[in-house]
C-alpha cells in the first residue's frame, strides 16, 4: 500500500474511535433504560445538558485555577444526568406517564435549561468561551500506525474496554442484570417473584442518563473544548436507532457505534479531500446509513416485552 492511503486509513480509524465514543456512552445508557422497559427520549436533551453542565463547571473551575477542572466538569455532567434520570423515572415509572411525551418533555427542558444556563454563566460575549480540553493518552508514542490509532482520550479507552464488557457482564452475569431483563420483559412476573420493579427501573434510568450526560460532556470537554448550540446535532436520536440496531446487546452496540462513527469520520475526510459531491449530501451520509442499517437490522427486532408499558400493580 502506498503511504498516502495508509495515512488516510489510519487517520480514519483513529477518528472513527473518537466519533464513536460519545455514541457508545449514550447508546449503552439508552440500552439499559430500554432493557428495563422504558424508552428514554430525553437522551438528546440529557446529552446536551451534560455537554453544557460539564463545560460550564470545567470553565469555572479552570478559571479558579483548579487542576482537576475537567474531572470536575465530568462529575457535574454525570450529576446532571442522574438528576434528569430521576425526573424521567418520576414521570414514567412512579407516575406511569406516557414515555414518548415524558421523554420529549425532558429533552425540551434540558435544551432550554442549557441555553439559558449558558447565558447566565457566560453572558453574551462575541468570542466563544473555550477551555483546554482533555489531552489524549498515547501508550505507543512515535510508533507508526498503532501510535496514531491508539492516540485517544482516556474516556475512549473507558468506553471501549471497560464499559462494554462491564455492561454485558452486569446484564447477563449478575442478579441485577437478570432482574433488569425480567422487569423489562414481564414486570408482572418479576413483581410476583419479589423483584422491586419500580426500583430496578429507576436505577436503570438513572444510571443510563448519567452515561448519556457523560457522552455529551465528552464532546465539550474532550473533543471541542467548547460548547455550541449545535454540539449534539441529533446524536441522541442516532443512539435510539443504534440500540435497536444492537438488538439491546452491549457488544452489538459497540459495533453500531463504530459503524456510525466510521461513516461520520469518512464523510469528514471526504469533505476535507475536496470530493466532488455536495457537502450537504456528505453531512447527511451517516444518518442515511443509520436508517439503512436500521431497516435491515431492525426487522423482527426483539423489543423488550414491556417496552413502553408503564407498570401498575392491580
Amino acid at each position: 500500500m502506498d503511504a498516502p492511503l495508509v495515512g488516510f486509513l489510519v487517520g480514519l480509524i483513529a477518528a472513527t474511535l473518537r466519533v464513536a465514543t460519545p455514541l457508545l456512552f449514550a447508546t449503552l445508557g439508552e440500552l439499559y433504560s430500554e432493557r428495563s422497559g422504558v424508552l428514554n427520549l430525553g437522551i438528546e436533551g440529557i446529552m446536551f445538558l451534560g455537554a453544557f453542565a460539564g463545560f460550564a463547571a470545567a470553565a469555572r473551575a479552570e478559571a479558579a485555577g483548579w487542576d482537576a477542572y475537567l474531572w470536575i466538569g465530568l462529575l457535574v455532567a454525570a450529576l446532571a444526568g442522574i438528576l434528569m434520570g430521576l425526573l424521567m423515572a418520576l414521570l414514567t415509572v412512579t407516575l406511569g406517564l406516557n414515555q414518548h411525551v415524558s421523554g420529549l418533555g425532558v429533552t425540551l427542558l434540558c435544551t432550554g435549561l442549557s441555553l439559558f444556563g449558558f447565558r447566565l454563566v457566560f453572558g453574551e460575549s462575541a468570542v466563544l468561551p473555550r477551555i483546554t480540553p482533555f489531552a489524549t493518552v498515547n501508550p505507543l508514542p512515535g510508533v507508526p500506525v498503532l501510535g496514531t490509532i491508539l492516540d485517544q482520550h482516556l474516556l475512549t479507552y473507558v468506553a471501549f474496554s471497560v464499559l462494554v464488557p462491564l455492561g454485558a457482564w452486569v446484564l447477563y452475569r449478575t442478579h441485577f442484570g437478570l432482574n433488569l431483563r425480567a422487569v423489562g420483559e414481564n414486570p408482572e412476573a418479576a413483581d410476583a417473584a419479589g423483584i422491586p420493579v419500580f426500583r430496578v427501573r429507576t436505577i436503570a434510568l438513572t444510571a443510563g442518563s448519567a452515561l448519556m450526560a457523560i457522552g455529551g460532556a465528552f464532546l465539550s470537554l474532550a473533543q471541542l473544548g467548547a460548547f455550541t448550540p449545535g454540539i449534539i446535532a441529533g446524536r441522541g436520536w442516532v443512539c435510539i436507532a443504534l440500540v435497536i440496531f444492537a438488538r439491546w446487546d452491549p457488544v452489538r452496540a459497540l459495533l453500531g457505534a463504530v459503524l456510525f462513527g466510521g461513516v461520520f469520520a469518512l464523510q469528514l475526510r471526504l469533505q476535507a479531500q475536496g470530493v466532488q459531491l455536495p457537502y450537504e449530501l456528505l453531512l447527511a451520509l451517516p444518518y442515511l446509513i443509520t436508517i439503512a442499517a436500521l431497516a435491515v437490522a431492525g426487522r423482527n427486532a426483539p423489543y423488550p416485552g414491556a417496552y413502553l408499558k408503564p407498570y401498575r400493580r392491580e
Partner: protein
Amino acid sequence: MTDANEAMLVCMRGIWKQFGPVIANQGVDFDLKPGEIHALLGENGAGKSTLMRILYGLYRADAGSIAVGGAEVAIHSPRDAIALGIGMVTQHFALVPPLSVAENIILGQERGLRLDLRTAEGKVASAAKRFGLSVDPRARVRDLSVGQRQRVEILKVLHRNARVLILDEPTAVLTPQEIEQLFETLLRLKTEGVSVVFISHKLHEVMRITDRVTVMRAGKVVGTTATHQMSPSELARMMVGQTIVGVSKPPRTGQGSVVLKLEDVWANDDKGVPILKGVSLEVNTGEILGIAGVAGNGQTALSEVLEGTRPSTRGRMWVCGKDITNASPDQVMQAGVGRVPEDRHESVIDEMTVAENMAIEHIDEFSRFGLLRHAQIRQHAERLIAEYQIKARPNDRVRTLSGGNMQKVILARVLERNPRAIVVSQPTRGLDISATEYVHGKLLEQRQKGAAVLLISEDLDEILKLADRVAVIYNGKIISVMPAEEANPERLGLLMAGVH
C-alpha cells in the same frame, strides 16, 4: 387433646371479598390438610380463583382470617405467601419468555452479585427429575409448549420449598397425555407431603385424583366432603344448584336442501404448506354437520377459509347457490353466513364496549352521514343483552366479561341476523357447564329454524350430542362422513387417528 384446626395446614375462615357490586366470596371457610389433593370445584365465577388468589396474596380479603400451620397470618403479597410455603400457578403464567427455564425459576430468589447459572441449572434438573417434570433447564421459555411452561411454573413453586401448591384450572391448556403426566406429578408430590389445591370445573378430573372436594357456588361454600363418597352427578348438582337438564336434540324435520357446499377446497397454512387438501362438504337446511378431528388437522384453516380470512388455492364454495369462493369476510357475511370463530378474543375487540362490539359488523346500519348513532347502538345492545341473558351492561368493555358472556355476545351478534349457514368453531372451549348448555341450546334452536350449522369441534362429546351427521377431518382431508346414528366414540376415535 389438640384442637381439630391444628391438624390443618391452612385454615381460611369467613373470607369476604367484594369487587365493585359483585361479592366474589361471602364468608367462605376452607381447610387444607397436609399431603392431600383437595379439589376446589365450582362453575366459572363461583369464587374459587378469588379465594385462592387471596391465599396467595394477589388479592386482599375484605374480612376473614387465615391460619397457616395453626398460627394466624397476614398475607399482603405473593412474597408473604411464598415465605409461608404457599405457591400458586395461575392461568396466566408468570414467566419471562426470553429467559431460560433455570433463570425463570431462580428469578428474585437468589441474593448476591454474581449469577451462578451452572448451579441453578443443576438444581433445576435434579428437582425436575425428582418430581417427574421433564424440562430442559437451559431451554428458553418462549420455545416451550404450554404444557412445558406449566411444568416450569410448578418447578418454580417447588424451588421455593412450597408446602402448598395451588393450581388454577391446570388441565384447561393441556393435551390428554400432558394431563396424565401432570396427575402423576401431583400424586408424587402428595407422597412427598405437599398439599395440592386443584381448582377445576371438570368433574371427572376431580373424581380421579383428589382426596377431598370443596364445592363452591355463587361465592359460597356448598360443602366439603371426601371425594370417594360422592358420585359425579351428586357433585354436579352441588355445583350448579339443581339437576342439570342437558339439552337434547329433537328429531329432524324432513330432508333439507343444500345450503353450504364445498367442492375440492385447498388452502395453505401461513408457511405456504397445503393444510387443506381437497375438502368437499355439503350442509343442509335444519342440519348440524359436526367436523371431528384431533387438533391441527386443518380445522382452523377450514373455518378461516369459510369466514373469508384465508384464501383457498383451489376448489369452490357456495352458499345457497351463490359462489363465495375467496370472497371477503364482508361478502361472506352478506351471503348469509354467520361465524363464531375459534378464538373469542379475535372476534371481538376487547377494549371496546359490548354495545360497540354488537354493532360493529353492521356499523353502516348504525350510522348516518358517517356519524354513529349512539342511542340506536345502545338500544340494540340492550335488546340483545335481555334476549340472550348476557350478564353485562352495554357500556362494559368486553375485556371484563367472563368467557361465557363473551361467547353470548358473539352468538347474539351472529344469530340476530338469522344466518342461513353458521360456521361454529370450538364454541364451548373454556366454558362452564351452564354456559356450554346455553350455547348448545342456541345451536339446536338455529337448526330447528332451518339454518345449516357447520360445527367444528375437538370435543367429541359435543359432536355426538349435537350433530346430525359427523365428518372426520384428518390431515387436511375429510376421510369419512356418517349419520350420527352410526357414530360412536370408538369408531370416530380410530378415524381421527387416521385408521380407516
